[in-house]
């Protein structure tokens, strides 16, 4: 049943990194306390921000929907526990911009009362539309870190038949262990969640991909597969190379097939789901429980007692750090996510969101100073390790010179921002920041182009309308002129016309006189 992936290294590049996993896997999964205030950003998923359904002063029960999705790519939000709504406030968000965003703020009342808003469904009698509706109603977004609305991903996948489900247990980024912990403790629920997808989407098989150094997770998942006894499930042990847990890289490891740039895994028949997302799907179906909490790894040398915590969405990172024994004296850097792809946060007031897989606190000497970059010496190291097979140094030159079109030609959009190039660059150039910058610029320019296309259309429509009006006026004038020209000009004819007009006006005058009398 357990099989080693056939190739030692089946995607280009990648890095062997020091995992730092043991720090946070010593204990068991613990629950973080209910904080005094829950802060739920309306935009904590990919796509459009959710629309609040409650207002200040309302009392909400646990699991109650408090914001609805806005459009296709969006996610609902639910109250993690019974609470009073304090309203929508602009507060700092866990986002690299440090910008404020609209957040629903709840004050838990400590009663922990939950409503039964979504009826439990028997997983065996589930059809596709019901599943999609339930996943959307439960506000599930990809819990691996990208927070893409799961219902949308499943709906796209449902159009393809005979797909392979990849259960992503390859948690390749250093320090993060929340998926490892979940696989150790809730392996059955992961598989049952996957089974729901297999059954409803008519998928052929499910590959459970786990790195071979996660011994306990392998053991637990292997036993769970044994217990389930479903021949469609297969455990795949893969080599520990960063970023093997990236969707595209993982599929390449498992199948030997590359997902073409600009296409999705589903285009070659693969659907990738993070293990935590599968548990969320299972709970949403079986227990009618929306996504209101997640497992977050709190770790790093800046944390006194690293571990994994089940935290309600909206819990301030401060509270999490406190329950993990607080900060160590040298703690300086707060990162959401891992050390390779995570984002630096300015403050620990920001809340846990659906994407918060890890809170990493590091000490000063572990962080590379930003000022020590040197010129590119064109050594080509970055090209050697780029898992997307790009030319990082070429991209760098184009972006540095603000040549976004040139960067686009080199497939900038295929960059997965894994940070491998930064890591190996002997000149310490922050390469992936250049790519992130360029990608957001491309996005902004595209948005501007859409806007200008609308403006052009409106301008042209207006011009057409004005031209049509002018043409009509000209036509009327022409008609009048023609009529005048065709009129007989004999005195008799003119007199006849004048008489007719007089008769008409006289009649009118008489009418208005009568009207005057009645008034």
């Amino acid at each position: 049943m357990i099989k080693e992936s056939p190739l030692a290294k089946s995607f280009h590049g990648g890095l062997k990194l020091n995992g730092h996993k043991l720090e946070s896997t010593g204990g068991t999964l613990r629950s973080a306390p209910v904080p005094a205030r829950l802060v739920l950003p309306l935009n904590q998923h990919a796509g459009r921000a959710a629309v609040p359904l409650v207002s200040a002063g309302d009392r909400v029960l646990g699991y109650q929907e408090i914001a609805r999705p806005d459009g296709e790519i969006s996610c609902a939000l639910h109250a993690p526990t019974s609470a009073t709504v304090l309203g929508v406030q602009r507060l700092p968000m866990p986002h690299p911009s440090g910008l404020m965003g609209d957040c629903l703020v709840l004050e838990p009342d400590g009663k922990n009362e939950f409503g039964n808003f979504l009826p439990a469904i028997d997983p065996d009698s589930l059809d596709l539309p019901t599943l999609l509706k339930r996943v959307s109603d439960a506000g599930i977004a990809g819990l691996g870190g990208a927070a893409f609305p799961t219902a949308t991903k499943l709906a796209v996948a449902a159009a393809t038949t005979g797909i392979t489900l990849v259960i992503n247990g390859a948690e390749c980024e250093p320090y993060i262990t929340c998926d490892d912990m979940l696989m150790r403790e809730q392996s059955d629920q992961i598989l049952l969640g996957a089974k729901i997808i297999l059954d409803t989407l008519g998928a052929q098989r499910a590959l459970v991909a786990i790195e071979r150094d996660k011994l306990k997770a392998l053991e637990s998942m292997s036993a769970a597969i044994e217990r389930l006894g479903d021949p469609r499930f297969q455990l795949e042990k893969i080599f520990t190379i960063y970023p093997a847990g990236g969707e595209r890289q993982l599929i390449q490891v498992l199948s030997g097939k590359e997902v073409p740039a600009g296409k999705l895994p589903i285009d070659i028949g693969y659907l990738c789901q993070n293990v935590a997302t599968l548990v969320a799907i299972y709970r949403a179906v079986k227990d009618g429980q929306p996504l209101v909490s997640r497992i977050t790894t709190v770790t790093g040398s800046g944390i006194a007692e690293p571990g994994n915590y089940l935290a309600m969405l909206g819990t301030p990172l401060e509270t999490l750090a406190e329950s993990a024994g607080g900060y160590t004296p040298g703690a300086t850097r707060l990162i959401m996510g891992g050390p390779m792809m995570g984002i630096a946060l300015p403050s620990d007031e920001v809340p846990v969101v659906k994407a918060t897989n890890c809170v990493l606190v590091l000490q000063e000497d572990e962080v590379r100073a930003s000022g020590d970059q040197m010129p590119c010496i064109r050594c080509g190291e970055c090209e050697q390790i780029c898992p997307a097979q790009l030319q990082p140094q070429e991209l760098y030159w184009h972006i540095r010179g603000n040549d976004l079109a040139g960067a686009d030609e080199l497939n900038l959009s295929a960059c997965i921002e894994c940070g491998c190039c930064d890591f190996v660059c002997p000149s310490h150039i922050p390469l992936s920041q250049y790519y992130r910058f360029a990608k957001s610029q491309v996005r902004l320019l595209d948005a501007r182009r859409v806007q200008s296309d609308i403006a052009r259309q409106r301008f042209e429509d207006r011009k057409e309308r004005l031209d049509a009006e002018a043409a009509r006026r000209k036509e009327r004038l022409e008609e009048k002129r023609k009529k005048r020209a065709s009129r007989e000009n004999t005195p008799k004819a003119i007199k006849g016309e004048i008489d007719a007009i007089l008769a008409r006006t006289r009649g009118k005058v008489a009418d208005s006189d009568e009207g005057g009398e009645t008034r």
Partner: protein, 185 residues
């Protein structure tokens, strides 16, 4: 003699073929103008001294105007035009104005007397209202061209800088000065 006949008949044949092709595969309008027009921001503000983006595009193609006369487009537009037309990019011509953050017109509805002058001035029909009725701007469609300011008899229109939220946020460009200094040394 044969050579003369041959060449004449060849010339005739090619002439006919070309004439036919010119009729058959005729393209309406000037495709280069379309391409230039597609790169312009379509604010229709006239700061380039032409009556809208398309006339400016035509002027650029006819060499009546330079590529650095569009303040709303700013540097990215100049760069894109330079790329398309294989010309040298140059800084924005200060005579046409300066690059400013995106704005949107807002009508003070208490002061508006409903004269419809701004409605007639708006190049993209982004103002709604009727005679002696209050007017208002459809903010989503407003290009921030300023053209409605001038005709307003009671000065009730303000240009407000568009609030930039997360959607308009971009990762900052890394500081390149460190490498510049060292490569110059």
């Amino acid at each position: 003699m044969v050579a003369v006949l041959l060449l004449t008949s060849l010339a005739l044949a090619f002439g006919l073929a070309l004439g036919f092709a010119a009729q058959r595969f005729r393209i309406e309008g000037d495709p280069v103008v379309d391409q230039v027009d597609a790169l312009l921001p379509q604010t229709q503000c006239g700061q380039c001294s032409f009556a809208g983006c398309r006339p400016y595009a035509e002027a650029i193609v006819d060499n009546r105007a330079d590529i650095n006369q569009c303040p709303p487009g700013g540097e990215p537009t100049i760069r894109a035009l330079a790329d398309l037309l294989s010309r040298e990019a140059k800084p924005l011509n200060p005579e046409n104005g300066e690059e400013k953050p995106a704005t949107v017109a807002v009508i003070d509805e208490d002061t508006c007397i409903g004269c419809t002058l701004c409605i007639q001035a708006c190049p993209v029909d982004a103002i709604v209202g009727g005679p002696k009725q209050m007017h208002t701007v459809i903010a989503r469609e407003c290009t921030g061209c300023d053209l409605c300011l001038e005709p307003c008899p009671v000065d009730c229109i303000d240009m407000v800088v568009v609030k930039t939220g997360l959607a308009a946020w971009s990762w900052p460009k890394p500081d390149t000065t460190a490498t510049n200094n060292k490569s110059a040394a």
